[in-house]
């Protein structure tokens, strides 16, 4: 099935491996330069080729913003080894060391969320399932992986529908923080119970469609692969332990 760009058309396993290796390298290498290089080469350039850069930046930002804010505040204001004071508010001191550590962590978070978002935006779940199945991964395992990814947007959609329905019947979910918190209570029950009921009916439907049959399913098609992509995947797999080893022995500085 043709995708809109060369990045979309890459084999899902190549993109999955790229996201995984980018994530591991960002964590292992640390610092500011390495995550920045990863973001530039493994996120920004592919996103430009795929024509999804604005959407990727928006999604990655939404994904990482809550944790980024907490990382920045906690490290800037409460870094235990902080000595050089930038500013002080009462007993709370913002330190340069804390800011440095926060920026390094933010660089890692940026690289990780960028890599994951690139994979998510350029890979339809169905393609990943088919490719994993073709490689011998049991259909059930592949399905569980995809279902887990799809659970969050499905629950968000359900919550939005229930919120709209309850607002239409007079529930006040806007205004003060206390009002908003109170608004969650009548929302949580229907969302959770509805999701459980939906899972039960989906399970029945899958069973009735022969999903639990032992043995291989017949695949109508599978995402294309190439010798070049296979070589790149092996290169990534081989390079990863080498880089980790170089970093652990101090040969590769942060």
């Amino acid at each position: 099935m043709a995708g809109p760009s060369p990045i979309h058309r890459l084999n899902p396993l190549t993109k999955l491996l790229l996201a995984a290796v980018s994530t591991i390298l960002a964590v292992v290498l640390g610092g500011l330069v390495a995550p920045a290089v990863i973001v530039a080469l493994a996120v920004i350039v592919p996103a430009l080729i795929a024509g999804i850069l604005p959407r990727l930046l928006r999604t990655a930002l939404l994904l990482s913003l809550p944790i980024a804010i907490s990382v920045l505040l906690v490290n800037l204001l409460f870094y235990p080894a902080g000595r050089e004071i930038l500013f002080q508010v009462g007993p709370i001191r913002a330190t340069a060391e804390g800011l440095g550590f926060a920026l390094e962590t933010l660089a890692r978070i940026g690289a990780i969320s960028g890599a994951i978002t690139l994979f998510y935006l350029t890979t339809p779940p169905a393609e990943l399932v088919l490719d994993l199945e073709r490689r011998g991964v049991p259909a059930r395992l592949a399905f569980v992986a995809i279902a887990s990814v799809q659970t969050v947007p499905a629950m968000v959609e359900r919550a939005a529908a229930i919120t709209a329905a309850q607002r239409a019947r007079g529930l006040d979910t806007e205004g003060s923080a206390w009002k908003r918190i109170r608004g969650i209570v009548p929302l949580a029950g229907p969302v959770l119970l509805g999701s459980i009921a939906e899972i039960e009916e989906r399970t029945m439907s899958l069973e009735a469609r022969g999903f639990t049959r032992p043995g291989r399913r017949t695949l109508l098609w599978s995402p294309p692969d190439s010798g070049t992509q296979r070589a790149v995947r092996w290169l990534l797999v081989a390079a990863l332990p080498a880089v980790v080893l170089a970093r652990a022995t101090g040969w590769l500085p942060a």
């Binding site: 939906e198 009735a208 022969g210 109508l220």
Partner: protein, 271 residues
């Protein structure tokens, strides 16, 4: 042929049975309508007939489900999947969630059954054509309307070509045209020898496609007979079922003083 012999079924954690001593036989090529008020046991009957209760749903069942004369108890659910198909009222939960296109969604069941590729393609094409949804083939199933999703779900069921089909309010989200297409597809399947059990609130559809109607009340069979007899029964409303439009029209005309010759016009096919 699909048969229930003295079936009583109770959901886990309940003391009252949802089905009580049900004995019914659904012959090959027969389209049987199931009607009844809410909580009469219609959906439970579908789950038992498809083998999902108690295998997947849990609960306890006494009596026997016979598929083509053989006891279904030793069969696993995937073994029943190729022989008995079931459709539910809610379309979204019937979609696999892993198919990128409507075509793949319809092919999902036959793919699971491990059928040869060519046969899957042939069945999928036929199912799409039967419900006239070929133009949707390349669309994302998740982005369709509820009615379109329901047609896709039913097409997926047709592609499995089960010998027995259990449909729990399959037209709940369909417009009149979609309802008519489903009715036509069911009639074609029945002509091909499939036994079809159709749970429906729309008694007009039951009157149009069913040769026999069973009415459930409080988990037991209250009426079982020819569709015309059961749906024309004066006591139907006391069982929580609205009579079909044709029956109500006939009654209104008779009350207005129409004679037998005038009422006979209702039996003529529309031109």
């Amino acid at each position: 042929m699909l048969s229930l012999e003295g079936v009583t079924y109770r959901y886990a954690g309940t003391s009252r049975p949802s089905l009580r001593d049900i004995s019914l036989t659904f012959g090959d090529g027969e389209v049987v309508g199931i009607a009844g008020r809410s909580e009469a046991g219609k959906t439970t009957l579908c789950l038992v007939l498809s083998g999902l209760a108690p295998r997947t749903v849990g609960g306890s069942l006494s009596g026997r489900l016979l598929v083509d004369g053989s006891d279904a108890a030793p069969l696993a659910i995937h073994e029943l999947a190729g022989r008995i198909g079931i459709a539910f009222a809610s379309p979204a939960t019937q979609l696999s969630g892993v198919a990128a296109t409507v075509y793949e969604e319809v092919a999902f069941g036959p793919m699971n059954l491990g059928l040869p590729r060519d046969e899957i393609i042939q069945r999928t094409d036929e199912a799409l054509t039967a419900l006239r949804i070929e133009p949707l083939a390349a669309r994302d199933p998740a982005r369709l309307s509820g009615g379109q999703q329901q047609l896709v779900a039913i097409a997926g069921l047709l592609a499995q070509r089960p010998a027995h089909l259990v449909l729990d309010e399959p037209t709940a989200q369909l417009d009149p045209q979609g309802t008519r297409l489903v009715g036509e597809a069911l009639t074609r399947l029945a002509n091909g020898g499939a036994s079809i059990i159709l749970v429906e609130q729309k008694t007009d559809l039951l009157a149009a496609v069913c040769s026999r109607v069973v009415v459930l009340d409080a988990g037991a069979v209250a009426r079982d007979g020819a569709a015309g007899d059961v749906l024309g029964d004066e006591r139907l409303s006391s069982l929580g079922i609205a009579a079909p439009a044709s029956v109500r029209l006939r009654k209104a005309l008779a009350q207005a003083g129409a004679g037998a010759a005038q009422l006979a016009v209702l039996d003529e096919p529309l031109r």
